[in-house]
């Protein structure tokens, strides 16, 4: 039981994040609907964002706003991963936007976003 607790305390959150990531990949591969594939892609991107936020965390750290008198870096959490993730969120929004625009055009051309239907009409 101790081993399990130890594992959950040290690695639990990363395991969950990785499961979330590969759930996203799994969904992208197996979903039969293009919109669902897109949603699975978003799940995957969110997993990456969680991953960064997890390793930026540290015990006893506070939000990185300079408090007068406290210049000890150990008492703040590292803000850099959060800053990186702001960029990654913007990028993932851009990707989603492009993907939805493409899906709208696919729907216009083929009349559906179901993979089987689209492939059937595309092969004609």
């Amino acid at each position: 039981m101790d081993a399990l607790n130890e594992f959950l305390a040290r690695r639990g959150i990363y395991t969950l994040v990785m499961i979330l990531f590969f759930l996203g990949v799994y969904g992208m591969v197996l979903a039969k609907n293009y919109l669902k594939k897109l949603m699975a892609m978003n799940v995957m991107q969110v997993a990456v964002i969680f991953f960064y936020l997890c390793f930026a965390q540290k015990e006893g750290g506070m939000i990185p706003i300079l408090v007068p008198g406290n210049v000890d870096p150990a008492s703040y959490i590292n803000p850099l991963p959060h800053a990186l993730m702001l960029t990654a969120i913007v990028v993932s929004m851009g990707t989603t936007g492009v993907a939805i625009a493409l899906l709208m055009r696919i729907k216009e051309i083929y009349g559906s976003v179901e993979e089987r239907e689209v492939l059937r009409r595309a092969s004609k």
Binding site: F21, V25, M28, Y34, K37, L38, M41, M44, Q45, V48, F51, Y52, F55, L80, P81, L84, T87, A88, V91, G94, T95, V98, A99, L102, L103, R105, I106, I109, V118, A122
Partner: protein, 499 residues
């Protein structure tokens, strides 16, 4: 002169600002935005040439440009070493030349399509150049995404079938980008730095840990997807085939080479290849390359759509680059870099020819090109040059990169690589020579003209000149390849290979 000191940043800054302003200018006059982007691309070409002169002149191994004068590792820096400038010059040169080529395709479009096309085109150049010159791992992610997003857009502009190709590429490409992001995350967690030069020092205590192996695997898959390395190339044939014909030359020429170059930079300059993890990785890379060469060549043999054949041929040629990296010695490295540059020109030239044929006759079946040498003389000559180069016949540039790959394989005593290179050259000869045979020997095919040729050379002048220039570049790169190697590639060799 102080402006010359800022030349590294202008490579990225000029096309970026021009493409963001492009739509506004296009609103004023339909074609104004395109001129602004072209001017900026020309500026980027000049700045990369200035940077190259700066890097090569003083015996300085590299130029470091600090963004906002923040010193690394805190600030973001652009690192321009001899190899970077060569690749940046290649990108900006091709981008500038092919931007003229795109215009006849857009003649009947309204301002939104005309300006939008050039916005995406400029942003693609920004992404490619940025990935080449940046010295910051996260910065590279941002440029990778700029490149990918504008690439999806340009592919989707190609017509009805291209939507599906672009959407699939988007899904697969996002997996690659996410894996790259995870890789950076682990690197940052291990080393606490995002600067490449800094990481290359701080990573050394960790090179035998499983985490490092995980990072390297992430990078291999991420860049493998983006460069269409063999088992990860599924998105590529459709995307190249259906992408916008005006941009296909640029997309096929540069969009897969720059991730390959980024991979090369990580493996040789940041991680170093002399540790067990990288040794195992090099084997994997070599196997992927060999499979890619053979399967890409065989698939290309089976195609009758000219563009699709070229796309599969790209899979094979990327295999050469992977094999060159996998040899892990100086000759293999030179061969990989040289092939990266040469292949960009060869493939661009061939895709420009196909686009020209499709523009005038609406035909892409390679068995219906009979008698084309009379109708399109310049294209036919460029095709011959590119085909000779693909097979590897001197004095075209393809010979020299294959020569260095052979030397590398001999030095490493990896005879399987030699066998594969010979077999694939034969396969190349089979599937490329049939095009030349069609063009010059077969009797004239009955083709209907859908566009007026305008000039005696068979196409509008703005399309003939890029084809001629890229065709000529194949020859020039071949003739001057020894000076390219001694002056640029050998100066920029990574330290791990020199020991």
């Amino acid at each position: 002169m102080s402006l010359a000191l800022h030349s590294p940043v202008f490579i990225v800054l000029l096309p970026l600002s021009a493409s963001l302003l492009c739509l506004a200018f296009s609103r004023i006059h339909r074609k104004l935005g395109a001129y602004v982007v072209q001017l900026a691309l020309f500026g980027a070409l000049i700045s990369s040439l200035v940077t190259m002169r700066h890097v090569l002149a003083e015996g300085t191994k590299s130029v470091h440009y600090w963004m906002g004068n923040w010193a690394p590792p805190i600030g973001i820096e652009f690192v321009v070493d001899p190899l970077n400038t060569a690749v940046a010059c290649m990108i900006t040169f091709l981008a500038f030349v092919i931007s003229f080529y795109s215009k006849p395709f857009l003649e009947n479009e309204d301002w939104l399509h005309y300006g939008g096309y050039f916005t995406l085109y400029g942003l693609l150049t920004v992404g490619l150049c940025g990935m080449t010159v940046t010295g910051d791992v996260f910065n590279m992610y941002v440029y990778l995404e700029i490149m990918s997003l504008s690439g999806y857009g340009l592919i989707a502009l190609g017509g009805h079938k291209s939507m599906l190709a672009a959407f699939r590429y988007l899904l697969v490409g996002t997996i690659g980008a996410s894996l790259y992001l995870i890789g950076i995350g682990y690197l940052y967690a291990m080393t606490g730095s995002l600067n490449m030069a800094d990481i290359s020092e701080r990573i050394q205590p960790f090179v035998n840990t499983p985490l490092f192996a995980f990072v390297v695997a992430c990078f291999l898959i991420a860049f493998g997807i983006k460069m269409a390395l063999f088992p990860l190339h599924g998105w590529q044939p459709d995307s190249y085939t259906f992408s916008h014909p005006g941009a296909a030359g640029f997309i096929s020429g540069c969009m897969s080479k720059v991730p390959a170059y980024a991979m090369l930079r990580y493996f040789f300059y940041v991680f170093g290849i002399h540790n067990t993890v990288m040794g195992a990785l090099m084997n994997v890379l070599g196997i992927m390359g060999i499979c890619g060469i053979l399967i890409g060549s065989v698939m290309a043999l089976a195609q009758y759509d000219f563009r699709r054949m070229l796309a599969y041929s790209s899979v094979a040629q990327l295999g050469y680059i992977a094999v060159g990296m996998a040899m892990g010695n100086i000759y293999g490295f030179i061969g990989a870099v040289l092939h990266l540059i040469n292949h960009a020109f060869m493939k661009s030239s061939l895709f420009l020819v196909v686009g020209g044929i499709a523009y005038r006759f609406g035909e892409v079946n390679l068995y219906r090109l009979g008698g084309l040498n009379k109708k399109m003389p310049v294209s036919s000559i460029a095709t011959v040059l590119a085909v000779l180069s693909m097979i590897g016949i001197p004095p075209t540039c393809g010979f020299f990169s294959k020569w260095y790959l052979m030397l590398g394989a001999f030095e490493g005593q990896q005879y399987i690589f030699i066998a594969v290179l010979v077999v694939s050259s034969l396969l190349n000869a089979i599937y490329y020579v049939r095009i030349v045979e069609q063009m010059f020997v077969q009797r004239e095919a009955s083709l209907t003209e859908i566009h007026d040729p305008e000039t005696k050379l068979g196409m509008p002048l703005s399309m003939v000149i890029p084809i001629g220039v890229t065709g000529l570049a194949i020859l020039i790169l071949g003739i001057y390849s020894s000076s390219l190697v001694t002056n640029i590639v050998e100066v920029g060799l990574p330290e791990v290979l020199l020991k």
